[in-house]
Amino acid sequence: MTVPGEPAEVIELEIPARAEFVALARLVVSALASSDSNLADERIDDLKLAVSEACTNAIEAHDAAGSEERVLVRCKAGEDALEVCVEDRGHGFDPGQLPNHPPVTDPDRLKFERGLGIPLIRALVDEVEFSPTDHGTSVRLVMRHPGNGTAAS
């Protein structure tokens, strides 16, 4: 997909903030990732899941904020990495203030049906950045090519 030395290719997908469109975001990202010969199948699955989680959060934030606007999924296929930004126009949040789950050995663990998305994202991609924007949140997910520091963060 990319030629060394060339600028990154940018592909954008804009979807209504509705649950049924998350599958479309996954489809586009996995098609792009599959054409990136530097990413193994397992890493493509990881990115797909991370994007799905980020889009789900974006859509839930729009819902909560009553926003009718759309969610933007911007993919950059670069020389060193495949990067996906999910931008919403929801209520924003502070990722540093999320509660910690009780350990899995604690019987109370079962009280938590939610809150698994961001821990999953952090475990799956090489780099993740949550940035507040003027209108909501931008979540940047980076999957580096081998030889560019691929160890999961």
């Binding site: 599958a23 397992e42 789900t56 079962l110 049906e113 698994l116 999953l120 799956l124």
Partner: protein
Amino acid sequence: MDLGLDVEERDGYAVLSVRGEVDVYTAPRFRERLIELVSEGKHRIIVDLEGVDFLDSTGLGVLVGGLKRLRSHDGDLLLVCTQSRILKVFEITGLTKVFSIHDSVDAAVGGGSGGAPGQ
């Protein structure tokens, strides 16, 4: 996007086979089906994930909710899953220690909760 949800009886268990992608769009149907089963008095449920192509945290939430509900009825929820990319999601979230995960419906029926890899 279709989510397949088929139920079969097997040795006192209700086996719910899920096919397709479990995400924020399809999870509500999955959740409803589980709740329906419980309210029909099925308190020993096996969820077969072998036909699942994709499962995210919303799907995990449905399973955690189901397990909680069944335990409150002194029941049990067992999983069947051998696909590495689905197992990975349970591993990362530590849920392999919460669920009893089996290689097949036969193994689940035979082993009960005792067969949980993490126990």
